[in-house]
Amino acid sequence: MEQLDYDVIIVGSGLAGLRTAIEVLRKDGGKLGIRVALISKLYLMRSHSVSAEGGTSAVLYPEEGDSFELYAWDTIKGSDFLADQDVVWKFVHLATQETRLIERWGVPWNRRDDGRIEQRWFGGLSFPRATYAQDKTGFFEMRALYDTLLKYDAWDRFDEHFVTSLVLDGNKFVGFNTIDLKTGNMRFFRGKAGVIATGGNGQMYRITSTASSSTGDGYGIAYNAGIPLKDMEFVQFHPTGLVPKGLLITEAARGEGAYLKNADGERFMKKYAPSKMELAPRDIVSRSIMTEIREGRGVKDEATGIQHVWLDMTHLGKEKIEQKLPFIREMGFKYVGIDIVNEPMPVRPTTHYEMGGIHTDIDGKVQSLNGPIKGLWAAGEAACVSVQGSNRLGSNGTNECLVYGYIVGNDIYNYISNDKPLLPEVPAGKLEHEQERIFSGILGRESGGEDVYQIKDELKDTMEKYVHVYRTAEELETAVKMVRGLKERYKNIRLTDRGSTFNYNLQHALELGFLLDQAELTSLGALMRTESRGAHARLDYPNRDDEHWLKHTLAVKGTEGPNLSYLPVRITMWKPVARVY
């Protein structure tokens, strides 16, 4: 197998991956001659960060009344007190610097008349601090980072390389195995430092705002290497997914004043969050919509039978919509054939974000159950630091990618500069074993008759039906059982495409393997957690239980499925209180 050596290997080319790469390169500036490999299963610039719409929170003008304490409080309260408070405190400070830095690299933030940066309201905020560029914030951020990266020379891009596994030597990072999709050959990347920035896993679900690339690959390779995944039961359902597919309709629509209405035309949020109304945090709004639907006040979509509510922007006026929500208007035209200036949009909760992820410390260093993995970091949605706790506030996703890209890039530079690590030895047999697993075990397997797409279809239906906004022990037990059944069938998959060039059939099979594991531990983590907190709402345990559950779930791969253990939340600023909006 071909082997390539780099100082730093970054897997994932979204906001977190690009920001990490830039930080390493600009900090080094040629001093140490650090070389970076940037690996993506897509083409660079195609990552799902481009679909982030609404905003990036930061305290920009404290003299106008915002403060780090207020931002930290909003984030911690929004997390339903599962966020680690020391992490949040660090995060809210660095968001300011990052928001201004990417302005200098080209992000066209919306501006006030005097040339300052404009900010707007978002769910769960006590101050309008969502900094935005129209309703394409993530896209413009990606443009600025991708373009800025092109200034530097000490990096190589490996587009369309699918990472199949993470190679460790004990508690030390060695490298990543990949398939070059263009040739079908395997390539091993060996490095002094590795970063996993592969985003989330929304493709476990049927109705999702995530790209088809959000298949939890980073979680998968970490889990298979024995690294714990943290808090995976906390899946965020964004309240306003466009019916039928669940495409994202930004929270900024409500930030700009949109109403949510049920079949009777009633603004139902007054029953659930009388002071914040439509701008309550996402978990609360999603529960409110599902309650309306369950109690018969939903609207049935004629073509698909999907139950939904209305997102009404007709009172905002054409001018405001054109300036602040042009992409939402475009989506109305292109996907449902309506003009949001005159008609409401059909929306319902859609799987959007995984609060959980790879277990890291406050600097993004990956942790195993017995100490840190030397030379390995994770950032963005792939990581669980934990900034977001059990519910991420809108406008706190893109900035986590930026802040942790910065922290991790900086940390890696310091590691290479101070510790002067050498390229690691590759443990004997590891690469041959991986080649055997992929080529003989999956691609060339002649027995079995299970179809990748059939299993994936059933997985999506299972998760959509049994591990949704509201959960019960009975449903979660069913989900665990069904997912385990699918995992058994997965062992018998047989691929039809045996070619080497762009064999998507093989890629999808590997992705499905990751998703099945994650569906299992999401359902199991949810089943074990006998309380309701943030995005995890149990009908049979409707209250938060701080006495027993003010702790993170850690899931480690065992021979018979995941082994769960728990880790206390770091409470350094505020005691948990009742969460009322």
């Binding site: 897509l42 083409y43 660079l44 195609r46 990552s47 799902h48 481009v50 679909s51 003008y61 003299e63 106008e64 009344g65 915002d66 403060s67 304490e69 207020l70 409080w73 909003d74 020391d86 201004r100 302005e103 200098r104 690299w105 080209g106 919306n110 501006r111 006030r112 005097d114 040339g115 300052r116 006590s126 101050f127 129209q134 394409k136 896209f139 443009r143 373009d147 800025t148 092109l150 263009k182 790209a211 039928p244 989506m331 292109k334 996907y335 449902v336 797409y453 691929l495 039809t496 495409d497 070619g499 060039t501 762009f502 059939n505 206390p568 409470i571 350094t572 600023m573 505020w574 005691k575």
Partner: protein, 271 residues
């Protein structure tokens, strides 16, 4: 209905026909996904975000370079749909084309903010002062999702492979029109050539197919104007480069406050 796809295995190409009954509101991407999942696992095409943001699923649909995820079957109004890989790119497999030349051309125009003092870009106590109106000078060109449709539609690209092309030229203009940028002279040698901006003869097909309204044809004409102006017109340019904002606004009274801290900062109460 019939879906005819121009397939390619790297050594030969052929038309293959599939039958599909798409649901109401289905896009071409939905149909392709259904073909791949239920009829033919070997069909290769790129796709990702499904909402017209990532630029992966560019292909030629009924003769027009389009994004599959944004093309609804009903709007095509035809019983047979013909799908080909993007024109003017080397084909690797089926609808997957080689984008290397495309991304290299983008890079060649130095698509990033350039300041005479580069330190200004790296230290950020405050932002540059830019007005909404100045944003409007370039933001439209910043919508480019790098899908490559404009290049596939461009008749000049088809005849002159060395032509910088509509995507890269529009991006050069995006940065030149940005009030924060001072990089015109650094970019000029790449643009002001016979294979650069002067090669464009304004067919306008790039703008016709652009799914995001970037209007590369207009950007290129504005770029020509800017080059001529800077070469031949003396005197100060309209709009000096943006400066860094310094003055804070007046404080407001009664700001919202977080509750008082329960603990001395840094002490973990939950261990």
């Amino acid at each position: 209905m019939k879906i005819r796809i121009l397939r390619n295995d790297g050594s030969k190409q052929w038309w293959q026909e599939y039958s599909e009954e798409p649901h109401k509101g289905a896009t071409v991407l939905d149909v392709l996904l259904n073909i791949r999942e239920t009829q033919d696992h070997t069909l290769a095409f790129r796709h990702s975000c499904q909402m017209g943001s990532c630029g992966s699923c560019g292909m030629v649909i009924n003769g027009k370079p389009s994004l599959a995820c944004q093309t609804r079957i009903t709007e095509l109004k035809s019983e047979t749909i013909r799908i080909e890989p993007l024109y003017s790119y080397p084909v690797i497999k089926d609808l997957v084309v080689d984008l290397n030349d495309f991304v290299n051309k983008h890079r060649s125009v130095k698509p990033y903010i350039i300041r005479k003092n580069p330190q200004e870009l790296e230290e950020a106590p405050m932002e540059f002062r830019v007005t909404s109106r100045e944003n409007m000078n370039f933001i439209q060109y910043d919508y480019c999702i790098m899908c490559g449709l404009c290049v596939a539609a461009c008749p000049t690209v088809a005849l002159d492979p060395q032509f910088t092309g509509p995507q890269a030229l529009a991006q050069a203009y995006r940065y030149i029109a940005d009030p924060r940028d001072e990089g015109f002279q650094e970019r000029q040698p790449e643009l002001d050539t016979s294979h650069g901006v002067w090669r464009c003869h304004f067919a306008g097909s790039c703008s016709f197919v652009c799914p995001k309204g970037v209007d590369p044809a207009k950007a290129i004409q504005l770029l020509k104007r800017e080059i001529l102006k800077r070469k031949f017109v003396r005197g100060p340019r309209a709009g000096a480069p943006a400066s860094v904002l310094v003055q804070p606004e007046k404080p407001i009274s009664n700001p919202p406050k977080a509750p008082p801290l329960d603990f001395k900062m840094g002490v973990n109460q939950n261990e």
